[in-house]
Every structure is written in structure tokens, then in C-alpha cells.
Point group: C2
Chain length 441, copies 2
């Protein structure tokens, strides 16, 4: 009919079932872990008043907004992240109990230049605690991050932690006072794992002229562990509370037997300006090139945008698509629930009702069952359709089977066949096959 | 800081945790049922080329689009439903195996006048089978609808089914040939449950002058059951296949022991123009005023919008928010997972590490545990915070408890308290309490 070309916009994409099924399973697991820590789900509109969103991400960010006038001539924009909507929610719904612990998993939109792994529509998965200044809240977020990865079957990863106040202590020692320059330097330091010390030094040189002793202090800072920090490297009055807080976090991790997942890394600075103390990034040990799959920190202040109340906050954000790609690469993706487990053939038109009943009985045992929808088709073709569907087993339910209220079962991977299996015993045979195939993979 | 008022756009809303938590649980259950029938999840972009979406819903629909020019001056629009994107997917991704069974749960946007229960952003939950003309596919969709409601704990409901061809048989008998008039009449007939026969007759009179025998035929049609239909009421050549198909569907329902959930209702016409044969709507017996919570039918043709291939299709769509409200009204909403089950107090600053460990151990047993984040607070205040959190039980973990690696437990509903419970036995006590409280509610 229509001559319109079926295509998506540049930077947008469909998630077809083969991708969407494991993605949905992953997010279900993640949400279950979030809930076990007392976090509850929140959803906010995709579209907000532009003034709610504008001016929070700097001029750069504002340029990337999908902003337009709606039919009522309102100035509106698609959300750019999940943090500003959270600030709006905290300002608008005054009755919410604090500390407010919420998670939100939802798409955001940014009109960025699309590139490898960079899309204009992508999902964010944020968990935050609003209204607590306690370091316990920081640790809850770090713990939830560890628990999420473990629950997804990832065993080798490291969460690199740092504290903005320790970085501030360095700045104070270096005599850097302007915010802009501070952020420039943080951005350079943040690149240490990528470009090494020489790279950092060269990049710093383009921004400010440090003398030899200053450069030595920076180098010692980036190489050293926190116990080695003293007034020769950082202003201890500024950095002290940060060092103490990092030590406490590590002692708690020790207490829980999860110390090995954490590492202090003074080069971690986080790009965003709003962090105030604890910051962390998480790397898969076997896939460092993937970058951080889970990052965040404490950002007291940002959530008071729409409120006169004090809104200390700490959170951690999971890179959904990056982590999914990582799980795939590591081979720990759960068996996809996109494919049926059992394929029920339809012998001929007169046998439709029996096949319907068989499918229904098998589903009642919790199996994912696909019923073949071309009853006229030769059995050979139906078997081919079964193989294409990804099912592990095929059911034949012909007149002979119906006469004795049973079915024949064929296992596709091995060709093994059981004839005349009573309907109520079928689920047992099938689940043995399915368990075996889980072990194979 | 900012003077911006924290508010959402008219017709938009936040889902705060108290609403979002049961909603998310409901949709998880629904998705599990979908998967058991071999359906797999699909996601498509919120934003599409306007030409993909335009012209599919008539002039009325086009007016309701959120349509604008993006930063690259492309003519774009937010999706209006999940059916046109499905048609686009079928046209674009030629490799997808047919029959293609997918579900999609996602928001859509319509610039309608907001009203009670009518929002500009709302979720659709669609399950469809594309590429099968078999009546088996229609029955799969009806069955999945029944299975969804049963899995949500709804026992009293009826799915009213009809067939467009039976309605066409009536039109043929009445001599109505123009599509517009046909749809006008269908829309009047559809109102039977609301306005009764007199209302339908009066509304018909404003559109076309029927003679007494025509009116008698319509009345007999609307009152009668399908076995009473003959050439005096409908053109049997047109209606015959529809009647036969309804009978087959009912016989299959009989075979599965779910016949009582179905009722043929010849007044069901469905507002939308694109249905071609089977149609159905589902009503909660105790809440008829809620309207249909689950509707759909066969719509061969619509999905060929972007393809030269034949795309017979059948589906069922669940009214997410309406059904959620229904479950709440019926009192069958599952216990909300928004609230923690256990609240762990923090005796004082020196006891933080022990409380962290206690929370972690309890979480490892699958409990939802909230750790108190104001360690300095008096225990009385912490207990108040526990009560507000909705938790069932409070944990006290002071120095005495730590000395013997145990905790004290208090049940909030009864005041019952167990002191000196070994950490590894605590989960047992707690789950007894939680099971009891499930039975209470």
C-alpha cells in the first residue's frame, strides 16, 4: 500500500527478540537485587517542560536536547537523563519519605552524533538514595553494585573508588583554585589508565605550567596508595576526611568478605562536575576495554534544584547495553527465553484440538511452548520449523497418540525419541532434557 | 537554586513507588505468561520518522501526534501505538521468522484532551502473531488472555467474542454497502451494552432509515445466539465462515475446560476499522464499569503497510493501567515489593559494621532489607522510621548481640520480640512472620 520506506531514525534502533529477551532477563535480575536492598521503582514522563530540563547540563547538554513546541505551544523536551527528573520528583512530591531509595530503568534521548555504541536513544538504569549524608548510604550503593554483578554471574570485576575531597586536597596543594581549571585537571587525571603518566603530563602541560615539584606531587599522588599520602602531596586538611571515609568503606567491605572487589584508584575523577565525595567506577577484569559498566558517587546539592530542602544523595548507574555486551562476551548470559523450549506439531486439521490440549498441559508445567500454526503442513516441514524456532524438543500428537492420551517426544539435539509418553509424564522427560542442555552450554 | 516550578506536563504523570511497584510486578507476571506461549519481547524507538506513523490512524489520529522537526530538520513523531511500529519492523527486518510472535510493553503518546483515566502518555501491552492465517493463532491469543488474567488471580471474567464476517453478513442482508455507513452502524451496535436496544435503534435512526423488517433483523441479530442465525437475519454466504470459526473456537475452549470464560456477543464490533474476522473484548464480572481490560482480534492486511508480503495477523492488547486499577479494586494485587520486609537499625556509630553484616546476611536469604541510614539516632526514632517504611520486622543489633553473633527481632504488627536469635536462624523466624502476614491480608 504505502510507499514509505520502513526505517528507523539515525542513532535509533529496534531491539529484536534475540537481543531483547536476554536484556529483559538481565534487567529483571538487576531489579530483584535493587529491591532486596530496599529500593523501589519509580517512573517519570518521557516528556517534561523544557525549563525543568534546561540549564542543568551546561550549554553543551542543552544543545543535545530533543526540544520542541507541543500542540498547546508549550516548550517541551524529552528527558536527557534520570537524575534531573528525580530532582523534580523530590521537589514536587513533598510527602515522599526520606531517605528515598528508588531505581529507575528507562530510555533517555540525546541528539549526539551517533557512533559505535553511541545512540540517540539509550537506556539508563539508576539507583539512588536521597536524603542521607551517612557514609552507610555510599556503601549501600557500592554493595548493590557488587551484588548486581555477582547475581549476573560475573565473578571477576573491580570497583575502583576514590573521593573528590582527596582530589581537592591535591588541587589545594597545587594552588589550583578556579573551578574551571580544577575540572580541566580532573579530566586529564581521569585519563591515566588510557594514556599513562606521560600522556597525563603532556595533556596537563597544555593547560597549566606546573613546576617540577608540583609534577612530582601529582605523579606520587597517582601512583601512591592512600596510606602514603601526606602534606607533601595533598593538603591533608582538605583530603583528610576523604581518606578517612575511603578507609571506612574498605573496612566495611572487609567485614563482608567482599574487600577483593574494591580498589582505591586516585586517578578516578568522573567526568561530571557534581560529585562531592565518594566516586566509583566498575571494570570487568577480562574486558577492561569495555570501560566502566557501573559508575556513580555522592552528589550532595544537585537534587536541591527544585527544593529548598537539603538533599544529600548518592547513587550508582548501570550501563545497560555495555553490561549486556559484556555478559555476552563473557559467556554468562542466561539461556535466552526468546526461544520456546518445546515445539508442538499439529498432525492434521482433525488433530488441532488435541495439539491445543497438549500445548496447554505442557504450559501448565511452566514450560515455554510454541504451537505450530500451519496444521496442513507435512511433518518434515514442521520439524524444520521446530529446528528454526530454537526449541529443544518436538512433540508429535497424532491419532495413535490421542487414542491413548499420550504423545511422542523427540529431542532435537540428539535425535533421541520417546514414543507413547503419557501426557502427565511428558513434562518430566522434557525437563530432564532441558536441564541436560543447560549443562551442555 | 533554580526558581523553576517542579511540575509535570498536563496529561502526564509520575508513577511513584507505591504505584510503580505493583505495576512492575503485574507486568512481570504478564510477560512470563506471554513467554510460556512462545512470545518474545520486542522494543522499538519512541521516536520514528513522521511518514512512518502518519496517515495510519486517519486525520483524527494524525492531529493527536507529537510531531516536530529534530535538530537535523527531520520530520519526526513520537509513536502513537505499538502496531504501526510492528508493521515497520516486519517490513524492515525481512529475516524475521514467521509466524513472528512478539510482545511489546511500552509507552505511547497522544495529544488528547486529558481526562479521568485518559493521559497523553500511557503504556500499551500488545501481544501479536504475524504471518499465520490459521484459526489456531486466534485461539492462542484468546488463550493467552485467559492465562494472563488467571495468573494475576482474577477468576471472574468473560471474554466476549465475535467475528467481523458475521457483522458483514448482517450488513449484506441490510443492503449496506458503503464502508463509511458500515462503520457508523458498527459503532452504534457496539454501544448495545451501554445504551440498550432502544438507544441503538435511536442512534441508528439518525444515520439511516431502516424499515421495520430490517430493524427486526438487527434486533434478532443482537439478541440471538449464533445457532439462531439464518438467511432472514444475515447473508449466510458472508456470515457462514464467521459462524463456523466462532463454533470451532468455542469447541477448543471446551476441550481445554475454559469454555466458561467465553461468550459469543454479536454486539461486540470494536471501534477500529482494521479487524477482519475474530474480535474479542474482556470484562471483569465484578467490575463491568471498568470496560474491556483486554481486547483485540484478527487484522489481516494492516501489517503489510511496509511490505509486499502477505501479513495476516492476530493479537490481543492489555489495558495496563485499567487492569491494575481492577486488580486493586478486586483486592488481588500481590503484596507490594516497594516496602522492605526487614528494617535493620544501627545501634550507634561503633556498630555500623555489624549492622551492615546483618543486613547483608539477611539479604543473602532473599529478603528485602532496609538498613537505617541515621546511625546516631535514638532507637525509639529508628523504630518509628521502621514503621513508616512498611517493614514487617525490625532488627536490633547492639554490642550484646554482636558479642554472641546474634540479633534481636521485633515483629511490628504484634510487638512479639525474640532476643538473642543466632544470625543463621534469623531468616527462619522472619520468613514465618512474613508468611503469616501474607495469610492475614
Amino acid at each position: 500500500m504505502s510507499q514509505v520506506k520502513p526505517q528507523v531514525l539515525k542513532g535509533f534502533r529496534d531491539y529484536l527478540p534475540e537481543v531483547m529477551a536476554p536484556r529483559e532477563q538481565m534487567l529483571n535480575t538487576v531489579a530483584t537485587v535493587f529491591r532486596s536492598f530496599g529500593f523501589a521503582p519509580l517512573a517519570t514522563p518521557a516528556l517534561e517542560y523544557a525549563e525543568v530540563i534546561l540549564g542543568k547540563y551546561g550549554a553543551e547538554g542543552d544543545k543535545l536536547l530533543y526540544r520542541f513546541r507541543d500542540n498547546g505551544d508549550r516548550d517541551v523536551a524529552l528527558r536527557y537523563d534520570l537524575t534531573v527528573p528525580l530532582a523534580r520528583v523530590m521537589g514536587q512530591h513533598k510527602h515522599l519519605l526520606k531517605p528515598f531509595r528508588r531505581y529507575q530503568i528507562a530510555p533517555v534521548w540525546r541528539a549526539e552524533k551517533p557512533g559505535k555504541g553511541r545512540f540517540r536513544e539509550f537506556s539508563q538504569c539508576d539507583v539512588d538514595i536521597v536524603g542521607s549524608s551517612s557514609l552507610l548510604a555510599d556503601f549501600e550503593c557500592m554493595q548493590v553494585g557488587v551484588a548486581v554483578l555477582k547475581s549476573l554471574g560475573v565473578t571477576k570485576f573491580v570497583m575502583r573508588i576514590n573521593d573528590r575531597r582527596v582530589l581537592d586536597g591535591l588541587m589545594a596543594r597545587l594552588g589550583v583554585t578556579t573551578t574551571d581549571l580544577k575540572h580541566e585537571i580532573l579530566r586529564s587525571i581521569d585519563k591515566l589508565p588510557k594514556v599513562g603518566w606521560d600522556g597525563v603530563r603532556d595533556e596537563l602541560a597544555t593547560k597549566i605550567e606546573f613546576n617540577a615539584s608540583q609534577l612530582a606531587a601529582i605523579r606520587k599522588f597517582l601512583n601512591g596508595d592512600i596510606s602514603a599520602l601526606d602534606d607533601s602531596v595533598v593538603d591533608m586538611e582538605v583530603a583528610g576526611p576523604g581518606i578517612e571515609s575511603l578507609n571506612t568503606l574498605l573496612s566495611w567491605a572487609d567485614e563482608l568478605g567482599i574487600r577483593s572487589y574494591f580498589e582505591v584508584d586516585l586517578s578516578i575523577a568522573r567526568g561530571l562536575d557534581y560529585y562531592t565525595s565518594t566516586i566509583y567506577e566498575t571494570f570487568l577484569t577480562e574486558l577492561p576495554e569495555f570501560g566502566s559498566v557501573m559508575s556513580g558517587g555522592r552528589y550532595d546539592g544537585l537534587l536541591s534544584l527544585f527544593s529548598k530542602d537539603d538533599m544529600p544523595a548518592v547513587g550508582i548507574s548501570l550501563g545497560v547495553d555495555r553490561l549486556l555486551a559484556g555478559l555476552q562476551e563473557l559467556g554468562v548470559l542466561p539461556e535466552s527465553e526468546a526461544a520456546p523450549q518445546v515445539f508442538v506439531t499439529v498432525f492434521d486439521n482433525s488433530m488441532e484440538a488435541y495439539s491445543i490440549r497438549v500445548a496447554s498441559v505442557l504450559r501448565s508445567y511452566g514450560l515455554r511452548v510454541q504451537l505450530h500454526l500451519q496444521p496442513g503442513q507435512k511433518l518434515g516441514k514442521q520439524f524444520k520449523a521446530a529446528a528454526r524456532s530454537g526449541a529443544n524438543a518436538v512433540v508429535i500428537a497424532g491419532p495413535d497418540e490421542m487414542a491413548s492420551d499420550c504423545i511422542s517426544l523427540k529431542r532435537l539435539s540428539t535425535g533421541e525419541q520417546h514414543d507413547g509418553v503419557a501426557l502427565e509424564s511428558a513434562a518430566k522427560v522434557l525437563s530432564t532434557w532441558l536441564t541436560d542442555s543447560d549443562e551442555d552450554t
